[in-house]
């Protein structure tokens, strides 16, 4: 693989950029692989990458029914943070965040990780207590966060209205090393690195059946023919249920639409990521200048990648209350993605009833920030049969009642 660098660009400029090679090969599938990963999104590609990098396994095919990175990897609001409350969540998200720090260098592909800082606003007494608790938990989990006061919030993000008439900002949980990254680049960078290791990425190849012998996985049938494998990883956010169905088991999850929108680009005015959970909205500014805004999820099952407009409405009015200056900005584009939501809103990284078949899904709306950690853990799980990072995310937790519930602000006080 020819390395990317300023020098390479200068060299190519001299010949009108005619000499750039393909970022990834597009091979025809072989008859058999040691491992097949279904789904060439961020999580699937990262899984393949760490199988190669950490475990020396490269006889791998990553199958994608559409185009790589075309699912939720390319539809999210690119927020990266690890300020979670429960130990297992904090562990895997912090692993991911720390891998993001050096991912551009590891992949020789600039994924534009921008550790600009993420703040979650506390706008009620209840939230103050919740975020203080999280800060204490994070300290013991090795996640660098702090609870900051309103004035500091205003310094870090001058466009916030901290004295709002309804929900004054009372403080915030601040993670200085959280931030954003260029979502497509994460998939493209992993794909290029995988391809370079000899891993086959096969696009336009839809899995139509999963073949097994007894209770052991044997391979898959695809639109490009039948392919055998010893191990199978299902990493298909939005379609986990469908693939699980092919493999003969059901999952504790439902697929719903989640929406996001961007404003027209304006000059830089916001250098942090802000999440306001009381009013349900979060916002950051992309390098292009667009205000990137996350919307809500529908309550009903939906595979259309279109959501209902009232969620956009709720999010926008909430953000106008927090950032009055956006009222005269315009919404440029809204879109939807399909997210798999589990019974406890936490992901599944697990063996399955079908031997040799593993699943990684149910990331809900939180998948992008987890990609490197998720791939790291999934690779370890598939290579060794167990991974400390994945241990708590097994399917059995739903039977045992051993939930990982991050939405801990259940009731409200008397």
């Amino acid at each position: 693989m020819r390395r990317y660098s300023a020098f390479a660009i200068a060299r190519e400029a001299a010949r009108h950029h005619q000499g750039w090679e393909r970022a990834w090969r597009s091979p025809e599938p072989k008859k058999k692989y040691d491992i097949i990963i279904v789904g060439a999104g961020g999580h699937g590609l990262a899984t393949a990458y760490y199988l190669g990098k950490n475990h020396g396994l490269t006889n791998i095919a990553v199958l994608e029914k559409g185009w790589l990175g075309g699912g939720n990897t390319g539809r999210n609001t690119t927020i990266i943070r690890s300020n979670y409350l429960q130990d297992p969540s904090a562990a895997i998200y912090e692993k991911a965040r720390s891998l993001y720090e050096t991912l551009s260098q590891d992949l020789n592909y600039n994924i534009m990780f921008s550790p600009r800082g993420v703040m979650m606003l506390a706008q009620t007494q209840h939230e103050i207590r919740g975020y203080q608790r999280t800060a204490y938990a994070n300290a013991l989990q090795g996640v660098a966060t702090e609870f900051i006061g309103p004035q500091r919030v205003k310094e870090l993000c001058p466009i916030i209205e901290i004295g709002g008439p309804r929900y004054p900002v009372l403080g915030a949980l601040w993670q200085p090393r959280g931030g954003t990254a260029r979502h497509d680049a994460v998939a493209w960078g992993y794909a290029r690195a995988c391809s370079d290791m000899g891993i086959d990425i096969i696009q336009q190849c839809e899995v139509t059946a999963i073949r097994s012998q007894g209770d052991k996985v044997q391979g898959v049938t695809t639109t490009k023919g039948s392919i055998d494998c010893d191990k199978l990883g299902i990493v298909v956010a939005g379609n986990s249920g469908v693939l699980a169905d092919m493999a003969g088991f059901r999952l504790p999850l439902e697929s719903v639409a989640r929406q996001a929108l961007v404003s027209e680009p304006i000059k830089p005015c916001m250098d942090v990521v802000v999440m306001a959970n009381t009013v349900h909205g979060y916002m950051s500014q992309s390098d292009k200048g667009e205000m990137v805004i996350g919307g809500g999820t529908d309550g009903h099952n939906n595979y259309t990648q279109r959501g209902s407009f009232h969620h956009i409405e709720e999010t926008v009015r909430a953000l106008i209350e927090t950032f009055p200056m956006i009222s005269r900005l315009k919404m440029l584009r809204q879109w939807g993605g399909i997210v798999d939501v589990t019974g406890d809103r936490s992901p599944i990284l697990s063996k399955t009833p079908l031997e040799g078949c593993f699943i990684n899904g149910g990331w809900g709306t939180g998948g992008f920030k987890a990609i490197p950690g998720s791939g790291w853990a999934m690779a370890e799980l598939m290579a060794k049969g167990a991974s400390p990072l994945a241990a708590a995310f097994g399917l059995e937790r739903f039977r045992e009642g051993r939930f990982i519930d991050e939405s801990v602000a259940a009731g409200v006080a008397h």
Binding site: I9, W20, Y136, M325, D405, G411, V412
Partner: protein
């Protein structure tokens, strides 16, 4: 240079001059001008800078598709960035500034990017800025961010008002051109309700500019007749300045009405967002002309041929004295003819096709215009404005045959139907070979709730490019819609139209077709984002082969015009590079809105005081008048404490606790949920809802109960009073009322629907006041009325009666550990009772207390608080509440869940009291450190603080917490690390710190 013509201008009212300001200079236009036409009339062809290379940018189009002419509009609280000049009507005093340059439009430092543009191809940033690691965030990213972005960020709070409007109609027609007008006429013929909306201020669309005859009339006359007819029809509503911005599922359409953008400061709302629900939608949104890809096609003065025609005919604006027309179709000849008729010079028409023999070329020849077929533009000369063109053979590689001086270029690459609204909700497209465009596939229309197609297109939006076809198509679209709604469609036929015959188009995706790399690096596809032919080809070469990959890698079509001009041209270049045909490559997804809509309009009225509802108790105003510091609890506001002059919040809370424990406190408990549960099966039902046995409760008595979810977790608690044999009153937490009432109804309606139980949420019917403290009985006796003695009204009993003349129900319950009565009266008398209690209470040392005092007092008693001790992961067994879990019942909601292995695990975190060894207050939310780390390297924790306060009663810090096997470890000292590395040791004690025997409350 562009200028205003002496005569003409369909839209202009020359009697109404309008003075406006551009970049600080006063300029003059007329009523009817858009900002774009007025700028051109003033010779301002260069109006901005591009996104990436900061190249000079001029006006290219005349409508919503304009990629370049974006301005900062207005000032202060009315400032708005990225306003499109071509869709901005001018008004007196309008102030606009060009964007994305420093220090000035004429001289822009950012234009340095242009000089090094060869080093900045598509995706260059993915390939560099990789080392050193810190440099991206601190050096490269800031540079990129500052050169990117377009308009300035607004600073002030928006001064305007906005609103929403729900409208329902049988047929919605989007687009007020001749197609839309005819579709609306046809759809309305049989009485169906029709709404016709047009995004601009003018009806009629392109027809009056493009010419022809409708029913033997001039289009303009026909349009006015049609409008008059529609305005008269009682079943038709028509609306200008209202854009169909998005089509959503089940016939939901957003209409973006710009009411007062052109009349700022009048009393009207600025924007109104129509939420239209239409049984059928007809999009008559016309078509958009495509640019041609030749070197220098982005230099100011190069304009779409149709736009140039619009400016000449509608606004009497000459884009230049000498205009070269370049085309691959007949339509562009209309522009040459229009220019000629306006007395302007057209040195040559360059037609890439081998021959041009249609009516229009003939007419042009007759006017003496030179026509060169098989010719192309090798490159446009000039930097900030066009000075001439170099001509070459379209078939060749760009060898210059001739140079012609000119100050404007009109280009036409053919037309693409506007398919956005059709596509928003899943309508599919097919490639039309003859017209070289994507058009809607009528067989794959968006599906509505009834499984029927609900969107149809009409006219040019369907790909019907001649006047006659357009009207025929629109007429049938209207009739089909009307029929689909069961109305017999009108018999009237479509209007007859005539127009010059047009010859076929020849697709031209690059000019000349053999252009080499050097030229391809100067051929712009996306003017705003600076995406060139060479960039798309590079993306393909590097394997970004999917159209979505290419779009995202090059940013083609991602600018504020969302690729209205660039999508098809880019797609064609990509398919060329992949040696694949265009339909096989496919399009990117069209997403709402059609053009950007204001956030203000989306939020509507919900801002400031009415951003969200605030729920007020009947006593709210008294609290407000008496120093209440508010705490939001759900949508309720409850007094956190009542601060007196000179007091800190903490002082106030301490005072309230002490006074309540020593004398008398009042709490507004009206927000607590109150649900009536009545019926022969009410007891049986509550036995399922609560973990306790409620069916055995005696009328006249109260019992504290717990509710769990079917998943086993504690969701609510409260006191249940049995009113009579088949009636119970269930108290819930504040904010719990609606949730729990819904929970009860859900089980009654969907699981136990044969049980005879009715419920009613009467929370707001009653004002409830807690009268608390040693003097509680005294004040009630002073008020006079019902007997509240220990014998008549013992602890955990209730009674109806009169107190101080009020009809009241009094509960003898305590959440503070003191002698306590909760007095409930109708809400309409709540304030009166409160006033009376305050007045009568003076001699007994009455003081109101807020939620914080309430919390402290319940914590002193070791009472749990939903949301503090519980967080959605806690079961009653964790809280030492087994006494409240009936052993006799074989079922209740959550019972099975609590039998799962993890729930029955002996090693769970359980509720205990915590006392710091030095009397200090434990930090809220702190975790207790265990020994060692887990396999992920996280420090082991063995518990956490759930509630912690300074207790004025005990004069020390007290806390409750959940600790691993806590109750078995009484007396043990555990450590709570602070964030600074220090640690607070605390002893595990009983959670009941105050009056463990309960003597005080039971007197």
């Amino acid at each position: 240079m562009s200028t205003r013509l002496a005569t003409g201008g369909r839209f202009l009212d020359r009697n109404q001059p309008r003075v406006f300001t551009f970049n600080g200079t006063d300029l003059s236009g007329f009523a009817g001008d858009t900002l774009a036409s007025a700028l051109l009339a003033n010779g301002r062809s260069m109006v901005g800078r591009s996104f990436k290379y900061h190249r000079p940018r001029g006006i290219v189009a005349s409508g919503a598709e304009e990629p370049n002419a974006l301005v900062n509009l207005g000032q202060g609280a009315a400032f708005e960035p990225n306003q499109r000049a071509t869709t901005t009507e001018i008004f007196a005093g309008l102030k606009a500034e060009s964007q994305n340059h420093w220090p000035s439009l004429e001289f822009d430092i950012g234009a340095l990017n242009n000089l090094v543009s060869r080093f900045l191809p598509a995706g260059f940033y993915y390939k560099t800025f990789i080392h050193p690691r810190a440099a991206w965030k601190h050096v490269f990213e800031p540079i990129i961010r500052h050169s990117a972005g377009l308009g300035r960020a607004p600073k002030e709070r928006d001064a305007d008002r906005y609103e929403h409007f729900y409208h329902f109609t049988d047929v919605l027609v989007i687009g007020g051109g001749v197609a839309g007008l005819q579709a609306a006429r046809a759809a309305a013929a049989d009485g169906g309700r029709v709404l016709l909306i047009e995004q601009s201020a003018q009806w009629g669309g392109r027809a009056p500019v493009d010419g022809g005859q409708i029913d033997g009339k001039d289009p303009e006359v026909w349009i006015n007749d049609a409008l008059e007819e529609l305005e008269k029809a009682p079943n038709v509503t028509i609306r200008r300045r209202t854009m169909g911005s998005g089509v959503y599922d089940h016939g939901y359409v957003l209409g973006y009405e710009r009411i007062a953008d052109h009349t700022p400061g009048d009393t009207r709302p600025r924007h109104r967002l129509w939420r239209i629900r239409a049984a059928r939608v007809i999009t008559a949104t016309g078509a958009i002309e495509r640019p041609l890809s030749f070197a220098g096609n982005d230099i100011p003065g190069v304009m779409l041929a149709s736009a140039m025609r619009d400016y000449v005919v509608n606004y009497a604006v000459s884009p230049g004295d000498r205009t070269v027309v370049v085309t691959n179709n007949d339509d562009a000849y209309r522009t040459a003819i229009a220019l000629k008729n306006a007395g302007l010079d057209v040195p040559v028409i360059l037609d890439a096709r081998p021959q041009a023999e249609g009516d229009l070329p003939r007419a042009a020849r007759d006017l003496g215009i030179r026509i060169e077929t098989g010719r192309a533009i090798a490159r446009v000369k000039g930097r900030k404005s066009v000075t001439g063109v170099a001509i070459c053979a379209q078939a060749g590689e760009g060898a210059v045959l001739e140079e012609i001086a000119c100050d404007a270029v009109a280009m036409s690459g053919g037309w693409s139907p506007v398919v956005h609204l059709w596509s928003h909700c899943g309508g599919k497209l097919i490639w039309d070979e003859a017209g070289a465009f994507f058009r809607p596939d009528p067989d794959r229309a968006p599906i509505s709730h009834d499984g029927q197609p609900f969107v149809a297109t009409a006219g040019a939006a369907s790909g019907q490019m001649t006047l006659a076809e357009t009207l025929k198509d629109a007429d049938s679209a209207g009739k089909v819609a009307s029929r689909a709604l069961g109305l017999a469609a009108g018999r009237k036929g479509a209007p007859k139209a005539s127009q010059p015959q047009e010859g076929p188009i020849t697709p031209v995706w690059m000019m000349p077709q053999g252009a080499g790399p050097a030229l391809r690096q100067k051929m712009w596809l996306d003017y705003q984002n600076d995406v060139k032919v060479s960039d798309v080809q590079l993306a393909a070469r590097e394997g970004y082969e999917s159209v979505e990959h290419t779009k995202r890698y090059t940013t083609l079509g991602m600018a504020t015009d969302q690729g209205k001009l660039s999508n098809i041209n880019g797609l064609a270049v990509l398919s060329g590079a992949l040696q694949n045909d265009i339909p096989a490559v496919g399009t990117t997804t069209f997403r709402p809105p059609y053009t950007p809509i204001s956030m203000g309009a989306i939020a509507g009225e919900a801002r400031g005081d009415i951003f969200q509802p605030i729920r007020r108790t009947p006593i709210h105003d008294w609290h407000d008048d008496n120093g209440a510091e508010w705490e939001p609890v759900g949508q309720w506001r409850r007094p956190y404490t009542y601060r007196r002059a000179g007091e800190s919040t903490h002082d106030a809370v301490m005072r309230e606790v002490k006074n309540t424990r020593q004398h008398l406190g009042l709490l507004d408990a009206s927000t607590l949920g109150k649900i009536i549960v009545k019926g022969p099966d009410a007891g049986r039902f509550l036995d399922m809802i609560y973990t306790n046995m409620m069916s055995t409760l005696k009328p006249g008595r109260c019992r504290y109960g717990l509710m769990c979810s079917e998943n086993g977790f504690l969701i609510d608690d409260g006191v249940v009073a049995r009113i009579d044999d088949d009636t119970f009153l269930c108290h819930t937490t504040t904010g719990g009322a609606e949730r729990i009432h819904g929970h009860m109804e859900e089980w009654l309606q969907t699981e136990w629907w044969d049980w005879k139980v009715y419920t009613a949420n009467i929370t707001e019917q009653l004002a409830q006041i807690a009268v608390v403290g040693p003097n509680a009985r005294k004040i009630l006796e002073a008020l006079g009325g019902m007997d509240v003695s220990a014998d008549a009204l013992p602890f955990m009993a209730w009674a109806d009666g009169q107190i101080g003349g009020f009809d009241a129900r009094i509960y003898r319950i305590s959440f503070s550990g003191e002698l306590s009565y909760e007095v409930a009266v109708p809400a309409s008398q709540g304030r009166a009772l409160w006033d009376r209690l305050i007045e009568t209470g003076q001699e007994f040392g009455v003081m109101p207390y807020g939620t914080e005092a309430l919390h402290i007092m319940r914590a002193e008693k070791g009472f749990i608080m939903i949301g503090d001790e519980t967080d959605g992961t806690v079961i009653p067994q964790d809280l030492g509440l087994n006494w409240a879990i009936s052993k006799k019942k074989d079922d209740y909601l959550g019972k099975r869940a609590q039998a799962r292995s993890h729930m029955t695990d002996p090693d769970r975190w359980k509720l205990v009291g915590l006392e710091t060894t030095d009397g200090s207050v434990l930090p809220d939310g702190a975790y207790a450190r265990g020994s060692g780390t887990n396999e992920n390297g996280q420090k082991t924790v063995i518990g956490r603080v759930t509630s912690t306060y300074y207790s004025p009663t005990l004069d020390k810090g007290i806390a409750m917490g959940l600790v691993l096997n806590g109750p078995d470890r009484m007396g043990e000292v555990i450590n709570f690390p602070a964030l600074d590395g220090s640690a607070t040791p605390a002893r595990i004690v009983s959670p009941v710190f105050y009056d463990p025997e309960g003597e005080k409350q039971n007197v």
